[in-house]
Symmetry: D2
Subunit: 345 residues, 4 copies
């Protein structure tokens, strides 16, 4: 039985354990104030081509989102997100628990467009009694989106432009950022991101780390006293070095992007082969998640050997399923999967 359920099903890349072993029994200061974390932050600043960003290490994605968003918003402000966005649907009201409304817009293939932001904000301020509604005050996107689609560099730039026009920040959830960076069609490299976003995170958990996310703050307004926020939300790990050392391993020899590329490639292989079989997709395949629309009988047969989620019922006979390809998914497995589809179809 092989699982296509998640890209966080396996512990971590070999180099991570190797890096930890090499540094074992050394002594480090607590709370990310140690030499290893400082070294890794310095390396990341070089990779980001920006010496002014602030960099923090957190333990998971929901935590990173809630700390980042609650840092920025005033009590009566809310964050604009896609109706399919992770903070709107899959974080148990984590943002609301910090006191803020998630203001949803109907997304297209999981993506927010500038006109949607404009519409929400214009409507808010056109109202006579604006203080009677939550003030829209930042934009949350994830790249790739919940549906595996990606924003290109131009699309990000357009979002940033509209945000800037309204003087609100753009925050990008990069839980699967590796797949964006590895997809050349996006034309995005890490060094573009501090200019395109006010804050974003470089996801570790879903791309080979044991655990951990790396938050980058480029907007000067949100840097001050950020460690207070981290500590208050339980996000300032005593052994910060246990995360930063993993990032050192992930960014040696481009490992981070290579792992993203591998999962993208295997996803594309499956997509291309399924298309040859005239199988349609719910949304375009642009990263490591695919949503093919399959005959329910085929699904039933595949389930005997593969684990995956049903995403959406399409009609009486067909459903869209989600296949999530991991950095660790062997090439042979994706080949076997296609052979099995051909066999069962």
């Amino acid at each position: 039985m092989f699982s296509f359920r998640n890209d966080y099903s396996e512990l971590c890349h070999e180099n991570i354990l190797k890096k930890l072993a090499e540094n074992n029994h050394a002594q480090f200061d607590g709370y990310s104030d140690d030499v290893a974390s400082k070294r890794v932050i310095s390396q990341l600043k070089t990779i980001l081509d920006n010496q002014d960003v602030d960099i923090h290490f957190l333990s998971g994605g929901t935590q990173t989102n809630l700390v980042a968003i609650s840092t920025i918003l005033k009590p009566y402000q809310g964050v604009i997100a896609a109706d399919t966005g992770h903070i709107a649907t899959h974080e148990t009201g984590a943002i609301e628990a910090t006191g803020h409304k998630v203001i949803t817009v109907k997304a297209e293939n999981g993506k927010i467009k500038p006109y949607m932001i404009k519409s929400v904000i214009d409507e808010h301020y056109s109202d006579d009694s604006r203080e009677h509604a939550t003030q829209p005050a930042m934009v949350y996107i994830s790249n790739p989106t919940e549906l595996g689609t990606v924003y290109t560099r131009d699309e990000l730039a357009d979002l940033k432009t509209i945000c800037k026009a309204y003087d609100i920040p753009l925050y990008m959830d990069g839980a699967r950022l590796a797949q964006v960076l590895a997809n050349k069609d996006t034309n995005i490299s890490l060094k573009d991101l501090p200019n395109l976003c006010d804050l974003f995170y470089i996801g570790g958990t879903k791309n080979g780390a044991l655990f951990g996310e790396c938050l980058v703050i480029s907007n000067e307004n949100y840097k001050k006293d950020f460690r207070y926020n981290l500590k208050q939300r339980g996000a300032l790990l005593a052994k910060g070095f246990s995360i930063s050392l993993q990032y050192e391993a992930l960014f040696e020899d481009d490992l981070y992007i290579k792992l993203g590329a591998k999962s993208n490639k295997n996803a594309k292989y499956i997509a291309d082969e399924l298309k040859k079989l005239n199988i349609k997709f719910l949304v375009p395949v642009e990263s490591n998640q695919l949503f093919p629309i399959l005959d329910n009988k085929l699904i039933e047969k595949l389930r005997k050997e593969y684990l995956f989620y049903t995403w959406q019922i399409i009609d009486e006979n067909n459903s869209a399923v989600r296949l999530c390809i991991s950095w660790d998914t062997p090439n042979e497995i994706v080949k076997k999967f296609i052979e099995d589809v051909k066999k069962y179809i």
Copy 2:
């Protein structure tokens, strides 16, 4: 330079990395719903001699405290804690950020006594206008305390009795629980704890884990829907198995208690030797933290080779310092430290 600053300065015990390596490339379900986590939970229930407890894995201590406390309290309720308690002093208002007051009592050597609880609650309910003040509704202790002192089994039982009399739960922060279990004077074993506390956690970060804490809920009232709370606060790790596997290693062959015993023993060695030199202590030495009162000139000399915190200024010439002995502190270092003290005194 050797650091006595913390017991979380080193990555982790060898067995942890070994356990992770052994399990690498296996596939696990997400969010602690995997076979490894289930197996470890089953082992821990046996060790706790209680099949009814619920067990959850979290990433750090502040997170565990804030999730546990916010689970229990209604909006207008507060938690009673020592004025020196971690949640009162060193968590940046994490409890208040979930909406609740920390009601402090003046502790004795870091410890809360039953009469203090009685006094706070009686005073609250004797008032004509009780709804004008925060309702005291649970008790937080840490064992060992912030000052390294420990509650014995009898003392815990007395706290539990008074809590039960008032129908409020007792929650124990066990960040350094290994040192309590390893201190035979406490007469506490793990299997006592589900009866003595309504919730408690078995700390990993400070006793050899890479990161992670293990929360045990024995009171039936607080079990339902607890995973919602975990998720909402960013505490439900996608790779829950990355923590549970560490606990498997920690509880094989009594490693957890052995590491606690080692740090206790080294702390006791230093304490005994310093006492021979007529050095006094701020509070009795009962676990792996010591607070000797040293001459400032001696402190200055020791700082050339050792890192440690000044805890409290005693008088013009003397200060209490904190020495925190780790599970990984070599025996040779504590011997050398005593030799250096003798040399410099």
Copy 3:
């Protein structure tokens, strides 16, 4: 210039000021613990035909909603509401500020139907990973709705039945409850409400009081320690008697329902007359708010003598406007308004 903008444009009914004057210079205990409040509560219990309800006086509607809802929900729970509901659209995220998501359903003419509740809850619990989303745990309705439509007794009973089946409470915002009680088609009297709702409020501000709302709690689970919640949210007025005395006036000689009937009648008069002129309405007219769809040129002319809000643009030439008829709107004004419409049309 006459304003049809709101039903809270005039200070209060004469009897309110009379009642206050009669009781001036008497001494009352603070925080609603006085003889007047006790007497009024006793009268209201008789009117509600229920000696077991708890009754509290608050200063406004948003306050009442946020106190009631935050009393009931656990941190990870949310409240189901119409997408047009007041708490979803016009309270500046007041519910989110207490930590809770408002889970919206697409309403029909402003009303929630049992199947909508069923759908939200079934979907939540059918999901494998339910703890990844906010748990739907209570239902908020307002009667009349934001669009002036009303729930009948049978409709309320159906909502209560589905809530009971899922073991979640039904809370009714009665800011304009007088208009429901005065509309005989609803078949609702005050004494039905403790059985039909777990909590509800009898609105004062919009029906002749100077200010104030009266919350009734019939579900035993939410009564305990409710005054703590009131105090914490700034809703326990020092001079509670300044509200309860107003309710005494409002419920003498059926004044409350008479005022509701008067505004309903004037609204119906306008509706009937406009229908004769072939004017359509956005939603059926069932209480004191009307949403006629008018030609923009007519709107322009009417604005010279009347104040009212444009509610929705229908097409290039027509808009729905909102006319809100107050308890204090003179009969002559509504007649004059119709004459003016006839003149300008």
Copy 4:
């Protein structure tokens, strides 16, 4: 039976009811955006001799405190208050419910001194790991204090100076501000206050209003979007004019200060007479609250005719009681009270 329990036991001054009656049946816009509120705000700006302040009307003291404080603080910041302060002791954790710690200092006769503020802040920032504790970021005082003592103009100026040095705002709770203004020893007039405080409120509830408080914001930083905060916390009354009209009455012909002076004078009369009888006081009598230390037998006898609170047990035979003199307390009553004391002593 006469009550000395509170200064909010009586409905309101005649002029308030008169003012309301005069304005009845007029139409006003909602949410304090009406002509009456604008007129009163303009009058108050003239009285405050400051055209730049923002003025808002709220319904009660706890509400005003929680809105003002939660407006200013970032999530990880706390407010410094006297350990006897209202927000620390008598508001059911209202500030904590908005997410913020109340950082208490041991007050002298209810008053905070500049050195206390300095000490809290210096200690916070001297710590290596300041982000591990709540950041002290504003100062709350009430004038008069909970013990009826008053801050003079010089004392306020000193507090403001230290706050300014640390770049944090000073907020003054003026629930009983009339008594400060009426006490010439304070040398404070209303027009001093915008310079001495960043925010303060002019209390109505305890000085003759039916209900209501008036918040003045002089610091530019806290003005923007304040109405959003009001609305979100349930503090933006639909009929804002029901409060502002009361303030119009209170500030006509100096009524506000006259009422304060009357209660001060009656309090002073009692104090002077009791002193002649060698009765001691818990703290100096400086406003309308007195805390005489009386023999328990005398207390028992007085309780047959007067209601008042026991404040503190002094020894086996004596207790400090609180007498609170209202704007409406008749002169004859205070005379009779003294006669009764003389009779019973």
